[in-house]
Amino acid sequence: MRIKQNKLKSHPKNRRVDGVGKVTGKAVFAADQMPGHLLYGAVKRAHVPHAKVLHIRTDEARKCKGVHAVLTANDIPGAHGFGIIVPHQRVLADDKVRFYGDGLALVAAETPEQAQFAAEQINVELEELPAVFSPEEALVSDAPLVHENSNLLFEHTVHHGEGETPDTAINLLHTYRTQHIEHSYLEPEAVVAWPAEHGGVVIKGSVQNLFSTRRSVAAVLDFPLAKVQIIQATLGGSFGGKDEVMTLLSCRAALLALATNRPVKMVNSREESFIESYKRHPYKLSYRLGADKDGYLKSIQADFIADGGAYASTSQFVTWRSAVQAAGPYRVPWVRARVRAAFTNNNYTGAMRGFGSPQVNFAIESLMDELAEETQLSPLEIRRRNAYRDGDTTPTGQKLPGKVTLIEALENVARESDFEKKWAQYRANKKSPVKRGIGLACSYRGVSLGAEGTDAAGTLVAIQTDGSVIVASGITDMGQGSQTALSVIVAEEFAISLSHIKFLNTDTDRVPDSGPTVASRGTIMGGNAAYDACITLKNRLFHLAAQLYGGNVDDFHLKDSALWRGNKRVIDFGELADKAFAHAVPLMAVGWFKAPKTTWHEEHGQGTAYFAFVYGANAAEVEVDTETGQVRVLDVWACHEVGKIVSYPQACGQVYGGVVMGQGYGLFEEYHQEQGIPQLRNFDEYTLATALDAPQIHLSFLEHPDSLSLIGAKSLGEPATEICAPAIVNAIFNATGRRIRELPASLERVLLGKQLRRKNQRTSLTKEQP
């Protein structure tokens, strides 16, 4: 095992393949497309949380200047609904409005202003319905129904260990709450759609998961999949957030483009993005923890309820991950977990970096510190006593595969941050109003999709006759750097310079359906597929070499942009490619990687949930002003086991960005709705960490190449963000002695122990109640 620590040297080899385009402003993002004869789309939205659609009158809008089309649900040729699991989210509301951001009608006009004006002239008659805004209230028997049937969106259970709850010396009962989080990708959603020259439609936009979007667009337009081409524009961030909301924009723009026979552009303003896009699920997490007097865990009973909002989206899978990982990375002989998601009339919730884990990590890592306090052990010691080690079994009955590096990660951040000493020292400080604190958190995380579904990906590698290489993958680069990571793999296999590789943006017409780019699966899936393609091509080249130069296939290898036989340089890689072309050797290959098998039995909540796991730990040092409640995060130490690092600068970028996103989750961010109405709609009120807030971050990686991954790499994107918030909250406790069980740890919560808010009446069951 190798430990890389704080290496911040420049790695010219691994510079981003899209770096120059991005620093010069030449990269073309979705909203930067300016084709000729362009029309602009606008949406008439409901702006009520729950209502029956009685009538939509469009005649005034049609008469407006510059208008080319006004469409309602009646104009949709195919399916009205879409959705990854349940296809019930309407492209345009037909029967009911289910949340504030639902759309009712579309306009295409010659300027954005004309389109917007015309949309405002659409006359909508709605009958408001009793609505429900909290998942607990949604599951009460006479609660208003969001859809036709029950408000119970999904329920998972995990059952581990026999008998009743064991009797234990220590019993802790605590409830934690988390908030809605807006992804806050800097680039708002945008798309351009145009009619294809031989029928069908082409859509180019800020789409994260092109293949699922294509399935929905094809169903809505009643086209075969082959007639819908979706091309990824350079994406300005996603973090799980440009999935369904981009399907919505894609469907709408395509409908307008086909209705007008012109290209149609739709760009969300930041306000539209806030009200229309899905969020990270808020959870209420109730735990009952049993431990012996020495702090060894004996039982965990976990009951979570998540606000799924108006549509099913990916809630079923998000809550599944929460159920699988409900007991944290700890040995617990008896576990009962129940995780429910409920429909409400809030913004719907879906995938966001972490995907059902940040909520659980916050709760279980807080709870472990509460256990440490109860037993008078240090947070490090309580984790040492309970953390997973090699060969342990999870609550789903899965023996952890490979090396379990949790303790190493924990010890690493504890050592680097001088945790034990500082923790004891800060705990004793009762005098000064500005107090320091240090906190710890750790996690394990299942890699890729696991038992959620089919898990395979393809990457296309095409050697050109001069030895330069074109690479394209079904895995999308949203900014995380997968184009660079995959290019690095290809460059290393062919022993050529990164500058000889061109990476194409994902295009559904030209690469195989590789599933979604989610679940930190980009490098492991797309990278292994790239490796597979390289191996195929190298075999072909070495066979040709054996024919041309004699010897066996195994005698050849590639080094320094050339073919070598043993220690003798034979021919330049470019010339070899040219010879291969002359001998009709195919120079293009599609590599494929299929994840190892996983299993799941829903009934008992048992199975081999994931084929591999990664481990990580964070320590956070804070300064709390006990007179204002302000928390400054000074330093964060992050250690992650990643299998093998493919591209070091990109790996660092994931951790730096993940930590600061986790800081926002812990301290600043909350998408707040009152009675289903968004109370903040832009970055003036939804506060992201700035350069002045971001801490100094000290990172280390543990490398332990995984045998199930050909390239050794596992996952990093999500682990990097999921444990910063609990480390901060634990540090606040160390500083102040005040336990915060609800995120974010805002000034008011730190100072007063509660959030201050405008006192709107909370009458979510019916509008008439007092």
Binding site: D32, G653, T690, I697
Partner: protein, 156 residues
């Protein structure tokens, strides 16, 4: 109305609606797409351009306000084929991820280094506090600006 100003070192004179935002004029009328709109409210800094050397949000400026001024956009920050030291350093340090905020950061950083060739870390962080980035955690952006400043000092 007719407005005349200097754009990326060249005089420009156009008929334009006085209430048109500078960002729309740049992107839609002139095709200078490197300037990005992230919030439309002066909060995210993605639309940052230089007006007489000062970093400003082009989403908050109307065309009429740039009459007679010097405006520099991301397209005008490099000299010929040579990248601005900030651009070069951003590539080297890995300060770029999704890249949507990057042009704004380049402009704010260029404005800072023009006025203060040797900023300390706090001054750097303050200078880009009006630019939001969701990907990088700012670490490498700050490092990139420091390296660019050092190179600019060595060169001059």
């Amino acid at each position: 109305m007719k407005i005349s100003f200097t754009l990326n070192g060249k005089p420009i004179s156009r008929d334009v609606a006085p209430d048109k935002r500078l960002i729309d004029f740049l992107r839609e009328d002139l095709g200078l797409i490197g300037t990005k709109e992230g919030c439309g409210k002066g909060e995210c800094g993605s639309c940052t351009v230089l007006m007489d050397g000062e970093a400003v949000c082009s989403c908050l400026l109307l065309c009429a306000q740039v009459q007679g001024r010097h405006i520099t956009t991301i397209e005008g920050v490099q000299s010929g084929n040579e990248l601005h030291p900030v651009q070069q350093a951003f590539i080297e340090t890995g300060a770029v991820q999704c890249g949507f905020c990057t042009p704004g950061f380049v402009m704010s950083s260029a404005a800072l280094l023009e006025k203060n060739p040797e900023p300390n870390e706090d001054e750097i962080r303050r200078a880009v506090a009006g630019n939001l980035c969701r990907c990088t955690g700012y670490s490498k952006i700050v490092k990139g600006i420091r390296i660019a400043g050092k190179r600019m000092r060595e060169k001059s």
